[in-house]
Amino acid sequence: MKHSEVPLKIINISKTFKTGFLNLKRVKAVCDLSFTMKKGEIFGLLGPNGAGKTTTLKILTGLIFPDQGQIEEFGYPANSVKARSHIGFLPENPYFYEYLTAREFLNMCADIFNLPKKEKLEKIDYLLNKLSIAEAADRPLRKFSKGMLQRTGLAQALINDPDLIILDEPLSGLDPIGRRDFREIITNLRKQGKTVLFSSHILSDVEEICDRAAIIARGKLQEIGTIAKLLSKGVKETEIEIEATKAQLSQLQKKWKIFTNNTTLSGYRINLPPNIPLQKFIKDLVAATITIKSIKPHKESLENLFLNFNMSTDQNSPTGLQNNKQSSPTGLQNNKQNSPTGLQKNKDKEIE
C-alpha cells in the first residue's frame, strides 16, 4: 500500500463481542460504521456511555479486530506496524507500569518508536514541561495522581510526533487548568497540520475545539458533519415559566400540542420547541391573562441532540431509535398524554 494523505478512512466496520456463559451472549458494540477524516481537522466522536466509542478507537489502533469492514490510516491497514508509526494513542483511563518513573516510561515509549537518542531526550524534556509533570518526572507512576497520569498519557501519545492523534476521553480526570492545557495542546496540533480524533461525551468540549463531529449511539453512526451543521440540527428550545391554572395549561397544551408536567412553585414550566413561533405563543399567553414569570431561550447546543440519542441506548427497544429520530429533529416531544388518538406508538421517555 502507498502512503496517502488521508489520515483515516473507516469503511463499514462492525464488531460484536461474545460474552457471558460459554460466550453465548452477543453484544453489538459497533455496527456498520463508516466515516473519513480530513487532514488537519479535529474530529469529535460523540456518544453516550456504551455507544461504542472506545471499541471504535481500539479497532483503529489495532488492539481489537473488527468482524467486518476496512480501515485505512494514511493508506495502511489499521493493524499494520506502518500505520501505527504515524499514530499517537491515549487510551481511556490509561494504565501504566507503576514501577517506572514518568521519564523511564516515556523513554521506553520513545524506544519502541526507535527515536534517535538525542531527539528522544529532547522530546521527553519538552513533553514533560509542556504537560507540567517535569517536577514529578523521576517519581514512580504508582505515586501519580489521576490527572498527572492523564498528562503522562498525552505525553506518550505525542512522543513520536504523530500525524494522527487518537484520544479516548482525553479531558477526563483533569482539573480546569488541565482541561485548558489539553484543549490548547489539541488546538495547537491542528495548527501544526496534525489530525486529531477524540472521543468524549462532554459536548461543550467538542463544540469548542472540534471542526467536525460524529455522533454514535448503540454502535451506529447517527449524525456526522461540521459543528455548525450539527448545531443547526440541535433543538433550540425556549423555556417559559408561567403562572396559570390547570385549566389554562391544558388549553394551551391542546392548542399548541405541547407537553409539560414541570410544575414550579407558583405555576408551570414549558419547554417550547423551535417550531412554535414564540411571538404568537406569548401573545396567546397575554390574551389569556397568564402571568409570564420568565422566558429563557436555551442556548443552541448539541446537548439536546445528544440527549435524544442517549435515550435510544435502551437496549430492549430496537425500534426506539427510529421513533426517536423521527421525533427529535422537530423537537416535538410526543407523548401518550397529548395524543388524543392514542395512536402514537412512541416509546420515548421524556426529557425532563
Binding site: 489502533t61 489495532g62 481489537i64 501505527r84 494513542f89 494504565y95 514501577y99 515509549c109 519502541i112 526507535n114
Partner: protein
C-alpha cells in the same frame, strides 16, 4: 529490534523491582548454603553428590522462579491494560512476546548466575575437582529455564496466572519424569496401537529429564548433572532441543496473541 529491546528492558526492570523476588532469593540462599553445609559434614568425601545436590537445588529454584515470574507475564499486561500503550505503537505481537521473553529470561538468569557463583565459590573452597562439570550442569539448567519460561508465556497468553501455574508445573513434572513414564508405558501396554499412541502422546511434553539427569543408566552407571557423560556434544544437542522446543511453543503463543482481541 529497538522495540523488542525496549520491552525486554522494561520487563527486566519490572522483575528486578519486585520486592517479593528478594525475599525468595534470601530464603533460597539460606537454604542453599546451610543445606550444602549439612551435606558437607554428613557425607564426607562424596564431593560429586554434594555438588549434585547444590546444582539440583539451584535447578529447582531456577524453575520455581521462572514459573513464579512467568505465570503473570502476558496476562498481567492485558489484565492491567498496560498492553494498550505498547501494542498501539509500532510493535507487532510476536515482537512483544519476544521482548517479554528476553527481559524475563535476563532477570531470571541474572539471579541464578549469582547463585551459581556462590556455589562455585563453595566448590573451590572445598577443593572439589569438578568445576568444569559444574559449569556444564549449570548450562543445562539455563536451557531448562528457557523451555519452562516459553511454556509459561504460552499459557499466560490466554489464561489466568493460576491456571498457567498449574499447567506449567504439571508439564514440568511430567517432563522431568518422562523416561519413567516411557518405562511405565512399555511395561503396561503390549506392543501395538495403544502403546504407540501413548508413547506419541508423551512426545508433546518437553523432555526436561535431559537437563537434570539423576539415577542410573542401563549399565548401572550413576547419572548426574556433574557426570562425565555431559560432554560439550551433549550440551550442543540439548541446546538444539531447547531452541527447537521453545520456538514451537513461542510460535503457538504468538499465534494465539495475534488472534486475540485485547479487551
Amino acid at each position: 529490534m529497538g522495540a523488542v529491546l525496549a520491552i525486554a528492558i522494561n520487563t527486566f526492570r519490572e522483575t528486578i523491582r519486585n520486592k517479593i523476588l528478594y525475599t525468595i532469593i534470601l530464603f533460597v540462599l539460606i537454604v542453599l548454603i546451610s543445606g550444602n553445609y549439612l551435606a558437607n559434614i554428613s557425607m564426607h568425601n562424596e564431593d560429586r553428590i554434594i555438588m549434585d545436590i547444590g546444582l539440583g537445588m539451584l535447578s529447582l529454584f531456577g524453575v520455581f522462579l521462572t514459573v513464579f515470574t512467568g505465570i503473570n507475564i502476558i496476562f498481567k499486561e492485558i489484565d492491567k491494560k498496560t498492553i494498550y500503550l505498547v501494542l498501539s505503537k509500532p510493535l507487532n505481537r510476536t515482537g512483544f512476546i519476544l521482548g517479554k521473553l528476553f527481559g524475563l529470561l535476563l532477570a531470571v538468569y541474572t539471579v541464578v548466575v549469582i547463585m551459581f557463583a556462590i556455589l562455585m565459590a563453595q566448590s573451590l573452597l572445598m577443593q572439589i575437582a569438578y568445576p568444569v562439570n559444574l559449569v556444564k550442569g549449570f548450562i543445562l539448567i539455563l536451557f531448562e529455564i528457557l523451555i519452562v519460561l516459553s511454556i509459561a508465556i504460552f499459557f499466560s497468553s490466554f489464561t489466568t496466572p493460576f491456571i498457567t501455574g498449574m499447567l506449567t508445573v504439571g508439564i514440568i513434572m511430567v517432563g522431568r519424569l518422562l523416561p519413567d513414564l516411557h518405562q511405565i508405558i512399555r511395561v503396561k501396554y503390549v506392543p501395538g496401537f495403544w502403546r504407540e499412541t501413548a508413547l506419541s502422546l508423551t512426545q508433546i511434553f518437553p523432555n526436561l529429564y535431559i537437563f537434570v539427569p539423576n539415577g542410573h543408566d542401563f549399565n548401572g552407571q550413576y547419572l548426574s548433572l556433574t557426570s562425565d557423560f555431559i560432554t560439550w556434544n551433549y550440551i550442543s544437542w540439548t541446546f538444539l532441543y531447547t531452541v527447537f522446543y521453545s520456538s514451537i511453543i513461542l510460535v503457538l503463543a504468538s499465534t494465539i496473541l495475534k488472534n486475540r482481541d485485547l479487551v
